[in-house]
């Protein structure tokens, strides 16, 4: 109906697809206008097909010349697994909106530690690069569960003045969590202006607690459940400094020492049952072919 009258001008083609592991994959999507507009710290909302969910994904890279946006996705639930199956090179997204959120603050920082935990390596990369380009001294700390999950370490290292890699089991780099890496860096340098940490909420909370005694300004990028990403639904609300903020328009970056992480983690569990239900259903392969909508029982 509307689709006929209103064709999308941009077909959001996947021009590159790379798999880093059996759960992590990279999509490079053609969207020249967005590639021009994107800044580190911003994200997009993606719908892979018309019946799909709108999900937020951080802009892990952008290439203004190629006109592309790079997303790195972890397949954890129905939507991200279905995307893993379907979004091969040449496929199209149904919708991609952005760049959303307030760009990260880069200027005026002379020495910075950029911390990426697991998948968080991807979103923190463009910030590390931007800091480097702005002339800052960049210390990269990235952590993975084990060697097999490591990706982008060369890419990341190339924008860092110092680089520390950590793994839970010691199979690569130093053994320990990213906080071990932060500790090494903070003990060596007493003039760090800022720590930026992106990863799972547990990891961001740990980093925040760790840097607090050092009094170093720490920034985290919050990832609450979102629907529209335009400030319209309030689903992404987080508690920062005791106030309700909307992560999609007031963030996603916030001062870590003021964030209520327990609140964030509780709210991420809101749809746990439904997420499981939809995933089970999908795994059983019983995706019923879409009947045309407008189900109007009793009509």
């Amino acid at each position: 109906m509307v689709a006929e009258v209103v064709p999308n001008a941009v077909p959001y083609e996947i021009v590159t697809r790379t798999d880093f592991s059996d759960v992590t994959y990279l999509l490079e999507v053609l969207e020249p206008d967005m590639a021009k507009a994107a800044h580190p710290g911003q994200f997009v909302m993606v719908m892979s097909h018309a019946e799909g969910e709108r999900i937020p994904l951080t802009i892990a890279d952008f290439d203004r010349e190629r006109g592309t946006i790079t997303l790195v996705v972890q397949a954890i639930g129905k939507t991200t697994r279905e995307m893993q199956r379907d979004l091969i090179q040449g496929a199209h997204l149904y919708a991609m909106v952005g760049p959303m959120g307030i760009p990260s603050h880069i200027e005026g920082v002379k020495k910075v530690i950029c911390v990426g935990g697991g998948l968080g390596v991807a979103p923190v990369y463009p910030q590390a690069r931007a800091f480097k380009e702005a002339g800052a001294y960049v210390i990269g700390v990235i952590g993975f569960r084990n060697k097999d999950l490591v990706f982008w370490e060369d890419k990341f290292e190339s924008v860092c003045d110092e680089f520390i890699i950590c793994s839970d089991d010691g199979s690569v780099g130093i053994k320990g969590l990213v906080t071990e890496g932060i500790k090494i860096a903070l003990e060596k340098h007493d003039d760090v202006d800022e720590v930026i940490a992106i990863g799972p909420p547990i990891m961001m909370r740990a980093c925040s607690q760790f840097t607090q005694p050092y009094g170093v300004h720490t920034v985290v990028s919050l990832n609450p459940i979102m629907v529209d990403g335009t400030g319209m639904c309030g689903g992404c609300r987080v508690k920062v400094d005791g106030r309700t903020r909307f992560a999609c328009v007031d963030g996603p970056d916030f001062d870590a020492h003021k964030v209520d992480f327990d609140d964030l983690m509780a709210r991420l569990k809101r749809f746990r049952e439904q997420e499981k239900q939809v995933l089970d259903r999908w795994e059983q392969g019983c995706r019923i072919p879409e009947a045309p909508t407008m189900s109007t029982p009793g009509a």
Partner: protein, 499 residues
């Protein structure tokens, strides 16, 4: 013309409109009100007295020639009635359904002084629906010019401005952040009040005027308003982004799972089709005992949607009384019929945790009405020692909205201290060539007011661009005759082609 009608000679009772019975409709999403049949519309048209002083026209925010279109219905010239309507309004099938008629046109109808007022909204809807069914639309011959107009937001204000500028010959592009156009008409108002098909049909008419829609474009972030005027080469821009940011109360328990804004609930259902979960992927997470805070149109929609999604008990919690409820009278009435439980003069103090991060209930306080406040409504004051617990597992906030911050963050537009865009009477903003209207200027208002604002801005925009036009887009004095939906002042430089 027949002999003059008087209040005694007209049909005394308002012609009833067919509705689905409450017990059945409360469990489905099909439209509640079924609209007039032809005979009913003609009968109702006979109730209009054709008052020479036309109070109803002044009651309509955009000044529709009400006796004019009703007279055409009486003559069974329905296309003629449609032409009279489209002189002024772009969205008759929509406004006929959703206008708060009792405070606008019907509220001042002469017949209403002694009988029930003429059912102006229902008649307007009848004509609008017939136009959709018959495929009528007011597409004039358009003399193209080289001017380019950008519209931000595809709600009623944006669509109205887009249509007027396209009719004036400009190349118009509408930018919309969502994947589908319509604004609140799409994501807010549910299907049982305003079917998506009606919204689609009205948007298709705008598209037929040559307007291009670009979806998934978040203006401010993808490009700025300033860039539209410079790099992108737009000669003028209209901002109709609506007031969509939901307000919370900052009381304890607000972040519990099970607490949502009405916007989130309605967006999940209307835009993302969560009611078809799991066939559509977006989850809803609605419980069995739902409490909605507020009593405006948004609250009524959240209440009735919850009922239709299978909640056992749906409660409206409002700190003022029934009289003060801001919702359309018809929606309140329908909600009551459908079995919504109303807790008037009740104010929530805290949302209670069940120990697992879910909602167990709400701590409330009884209120009584005191002196009138600034809004003229009597101010609710707490009754000492009246605290009590209301059991529920879902709490929905429908207590109003704030201005969306994105354009403020990304442009030099002057804003009010509450974040709304500052615009003068002709809706020009602080940036030359940029106009704004609808909820983002006035705060949450109505569909017809937003549409009117889009047209007022279009008139100013035409003057700004040096296009021939009168000073007013829909001056009531000029509405007398109609030609394919063109305002008289637009006809002097175009030829008209039958679409």
């Amino acid at each position: 013309m027949a002999k003059k009608k008087t209040i005694r000679t007209i049909p005394q009772d308002r012609t009833p409109m067919q509705e689905q019975v409450p017990e059945i409709r409360a469990r489905n999403f099909a439209e509640v009100s079924l609209g007039y049949e032809l005979a009913a519309a003609v009968r109702e048209s006979e109730r209009c007295l054709m008052c020479p002083d036309e109070p109803c026209i002044r009651g309509c925010p955009v000044g529709i020639n009400i006796p004019g279109f009703i007279a055409k219905i009486g003559e069974k010239d329905f296309h003629g009635a449609y032409d009279v309507l489209t002189d002024t309004t772009l969205l008759p099938a929509i406004c006929g359904r959703v206008c708060p008629q009792e405070t606008q046109c019907e509220g001042v109808c002469t017949v209403g002084e002694s009988l029930e007022s003429v059912a102006i909204g229902r008649l307007e809807r009848f004509v609008g629906d017939m136009a959709i069914a018959e495929g009528w639309s007011a597409v004039p011959y358009i003399e193209p010019n080289e001017l380019r107009v950008g519209i931000i937001g595809s709600g009623p204000s944006g669509m109205a401005c887009a249509a007027d500028m396209a009719k004036a010959g400009c190349k118009v592009t509408v930018f919309e952040a969502f994947q589908q156009p319509g604004g609140v008409l799409r994501y807010g108002i549910p299907e049982f009040r305003l079917p998506n098909e009606v919204v689609d049909a009205e948007i298709a008419k705008v598209a037929r005027l040559g307007v291009t829609f670009r979806m998934n474009a978040l203006v401010g972030r993808l490009f700025t308003i300033e860039q539209m005027l410079t790099d992108m080469g737009f000669d003028a821009v209209f901002v109709g982004t609506g007031a969509g940011t939901p307000v919370f109360m900052d009381i304890a328990g607000e972040s519990l799972s099970g607490v949502v804004s009405a916007n989130e609930l309605l967006t999940r259902i209307n835009l993302m089709q969560a009611r078809d979960f799991p066939a559509h992927d977006t989850p809803l997470g609605l419980g069995k005992k739902v409490a909605v805070i507020g009593a405006g149109n948004t609250a009524m929609d959240a209440l009735r949607v919850s009922l239709r999604l299978g909640a056992d008990k749906v409660m409206c919690v409002y700190r003022r009384g029934h009289e003060e409820a801001p919702a359309r009278a018809e929606e309140l009435h329908h909600a009551e019929q459908e079995g919504i439980e109303f807790h008037w003069l009740t104010n929530p103090l805290a949302i209670l945790d069940d120990g697992n991060g879910n909602v167990r209930g709400m701590l409330c306080q009884r209120m009584e009405l005191g002196e009138p406040d600034k809004s003229g409504r009597r101010r609710p004051v707490p009754v000492e020692g009246s605290d009590f617990e209301l059991e529920c597992d879902t709490v929905v906030y429908a207590i109003g909205t704030n201005a969306n911050p994105i354009l403020g963050q990304t442009s030099s537009l002057a804003l009010t201290d509450r974040g709304y865009i500052v615009a003068n009477d002709s809706l020009a903003t602080s940036i030359d060539g940029v106009f704004a209207g609808g909820d983002i200027v006035t705060g949450a208002a109505t569909v017809i007011e937003a549409m009117g604002a889009g047209r007022t801005a279009a008139a100013a925009m035409k003057r700004y661009l040096g296009l021939r036009d009168s000073t007013l887009p829909y001056a009531p004095a000029e509405r007398a005759s109609s030609l394919f939906g063109l305002a008289p002042e637009q006809r002097n430089f175009v030829r008209v082609q039958v679409a």
